[in-house]
Structures are given as C-alpha cells and as structure tokens.
Amino acid sequence: MLEIVFLIPFLTGVAAFFLPNKLGRGLLVLSGAIHLILSVLVWIGRLAPILPEYFAVTPEGLLSLLVISLLFFLISIYTIAYLKASDIHAENIFTGSMLLFLSTMTMVTLSDHIMVMWIAIEATTLASAPLIYTHRSAASLEATWKYVLICSVGIAMALLGSVLVTVAMDVGKVDAPISFSAMTAVAQQLDPLWLKAGFVFILVGYGTKMGLAPMHTWLPDAHSEAPSPASALSPVYFSTAPIWVSSKPTKSCTPPAWPIFQAPF
C-alpha cells in the first residue's frame, strides 16, 4: 500500500490543527519517524501501489522521497527546540501545515499521472502558504501574497501544458493512460508540435515554482520571512522535486528528436 506514505502525514496534519501545542510537537516528530520508516520500506520495495494508474515508484521519485523524508525527520527534532524558544501565535496551524506540506511533497514524488502530479504540486503551494505567514507581520503577509499569487499563476501555466500533452496524445491517436511510464513507451507516436507546446508551458509553470529566473521574484522574500524550520524544509522540495518533475516530461519527450530541450537537464 504505497499511498499510506502520504496519507499518514495528511491525517496527522489534519489532526494537528485541533490538538494542543505540546501534543502537536510530539506528533510532528512521530509522523517524521513513521514517514522515514515507510520511505525506507518503499526503497526496499515492500510497498506496492493500490492505484497503479496514478501512483508508482520511480528511481528519481525515490531519490527525492528519501532526501525529503530524512531531512523532515531531522528538521522535526529541531522544530521542537525552535517552537519552545520562539513565540508563535498559532502553533497548531504551523505544525499542521508542516505535516500537510510533507504529505503533499511525498505525493508529488510518488505520482505517475501527469494531472495527479499537478494537483499535488498546487497542493504544496497551498499547504506552505500558512507557513510563510507564521509571524503575522506586514512583511510576511506581503511575502505570502507574492508567493501564493505568483506560484498559482505559474502553476496554472503548467496545468495548461499538461492539457496540451494530453492533446498531443489525442492528435497522435495514442490510446494509453496519461501516466509517465505509459507515455515513455508510446513517445514516438505523440504529436511533436503539441508536445513541444506542452513542454514549454510545463517548464515555465514548474520553473516558477522552482524559482528559475525570471520567474524567481517571490523566492527571496518568502525564504526571508518564513520561520527557519519551514525555510529549511522548502528548498529541499523546491530544488529536488520540480527538477525531477521537469525531467519527467523530458524523458517521455526524448524520442521524438528534440535535442534543444534536452540540454538543461
């Protein structure tokens, strides 16, 4: 049951919103530990997906998952000391959002369906927005606003790109599921024009989330305003997951000969 890896932090995250502060802190470390154990189980190959249409274990995804899981566990231990020392207004929202952030990040690394991956990436934006606004200052509000608006608009571009990739399948008369593994197999038959258009939009969209220039303007502000545990966690995701996400379409796009797009990856 592969899905349990992101379902557990999701459930504990929702629970953390309603729990008192001390319990919430314990839950954060506990979920981090369980997540680490489950990730290692995925690595060994013990967990098989229930919905193979949407989720799968891939080498790139596994690498990201293990890095995220290990760092989250270490950060969760540090967070306890951080929360004791700092004066955070709504601590349950902070711990809950941290766990939801972990859950959505995990979902990104495990998703094999192009739309499910988009859903998961947009969900990471939404789950991390309250983390940036933790300090409730005017500057953090400004950073949150920039982050949510710029990333949402950027990721909307990636949604359009994903739709165009499915159009490329329609035009090429390919009858396969919209999963990356299935698409790599039939990559030769996809319509090159629509696929190129889709890839450009996906690169711009997820590039915004990665903070590629010139779509990077939200990034320095968000990192300077977010509390340090959240700020420590997000680069892990922002720098590993989307790079891997952009490499996924490239993988399925490689056969129809477009060397220009391959170079950056």
Binding site: V116, L159, D170
Partner: protein, 213 residues
C-alpha cells in the same frame, strides 16, 4: 445554423470586454460569476455523450465556479472594499481596446492551429486563448489585489475550457481534484486578502513594496 456553443462562447468573449471596462469591484465580481457559469455549461452542448458522472461533475463545476468562488471573494471584501475602484494602471478605454485587439489576435492565432477535434466549434480555441490573455492582462494592469485574484480565476476558466473540450481522457476524479485545488487556492487568497485589508487598511498592492528581493 448557429451552433448553441457559439452563442455561449460569444457570451464568454463579451464578459471579457465587460470585465475590462468595469471600474467597480462588485460589478467585476458579478461579471466573473457570469463567466464562470457560462464556461462551465459549455461541456453540456459540445455533443459528446454525457454520462451521469459527467452531469454531476458539470453541476458541481457550475456551483463552484459560478457561486462559491465569486461568493467567497465577495465575502472577503464585504466590509471595507465595497464600491471601491479597481485602481487601473491601464485606463478603461485603453483596456477595452486592448481586449478587442486580444480577441482579434486570438481568433487569428486560433485559425492557424490544427485542432484535433475540429467538429466542436470554431470559436472554442480563440475564446480559450482570449480568456488566458485577458486573465494575464487583469493581473498586470490592475493594482487592486482583488482584481488580480479575479484575473487568476479568468485564466483558470480559459484552461478549463481547453481541458474539458479537447481531451476527454481525464477521469472525473482527476478533474475534481483540479477543481478542488483551484477552490482551495481562491479561499486561501481570500483569507490573505482579508489580512491585507486589516493590516494595510487597503487592498492596493502598491503598498506591498517593502520587500524587494
């Protein structure tokens, strides 16, 4: 004979021009609600066979895009910002002219693109491109934070139009997930809007200038 989809899509195009010309926020929100309704009923008239699940999904989309999302933003601004101007960077007349040029350009571009299923409607692709461009325009040409959120919603409407009509392969559960994400995004934006209003006593983004990379 005029296809019913063409009528609906031309209403969507009209709503773009209306939104560019409206100076007051409540008016703009109403235009966006209208556009949400119009865009979400398009799949019913496309001519694909509609299953029960498809019907339910269309109704849910209609409720969320036409009622919940605009209502959410309306509630967020209710007390202070009612009747406020949208603080344009580009004036209204220039905006409407830009909108017309955008629609002409989108029609021109739409006719040069090979559509996989050309039986649907000749207006479909131009409308989708216009909605995307118009959303971008509202994001750039208005300083008011609420008008920016509405621009984002307009972009999403355009993508929805491309998505539901061109590719019939995505399952409803996946589409529902996308809709849920958009809804949650708008709700979070509405919460941030309320906080901006309380902290800065305004929703003019010109005041959000302290952080400069």
């Amino acid at each position: 004979m005029i296809h019913p989809v063409d009528t609906i899509l031309s209403l969507a195009l009209l709503s773009i021009l209306f939104s560019f010309g409206s100076s007051r926020l409540p008016g703009l929100i109403k235009v966006m609600a209208f556009q949400g309704v119009v865009v979400s009923i398009v799949p019913l008239f496309i001519g694909h066979e509609i299953s029960t699940g498809g019907m339910v999904f269309t109704i849910v989309t209609l409720v969320i895009r036409g009622i919940v999302i605009p209502g959410c933003i309306y509630m967020a601004i209710k007390r202070v910002a009612i009747g406020r101007e949208v603080e344009p960077i580009v004036g209204y007349h220039a905006s409407i002219l830009a909108g017309l040029l955008l629609i002409v350009g989108a029609t021109f571009a739409g006719h040069h693109i090979d559509v996989p299923d050309s039986s649907v409607s000749a207006l479909l692709l131009p409308t989708a491109i216009s909605l995307l461009g118009a959303g971008m325009f509202l994001l750039m040409a208005r300083r008011n934070a609420i008008a920016m959120v509405l621009g984002y919603i307009m972009m999403e409407n355009g993508i929805y139009l491309v998505g539901t009509t061109f590719s019939v392969r995505a399952r409803h559960i996946v589409e529902f997930g996308i809709l849920l994400d958009v809804l949650a995004g708008v709700m979070i934006m509405a919460v941030i809007l309320q906080n901006i209003k309380q902290t800065f006593d305004d929703v003019d983004t010109a005041r959000l200038r302290t952080l400069k990379e």
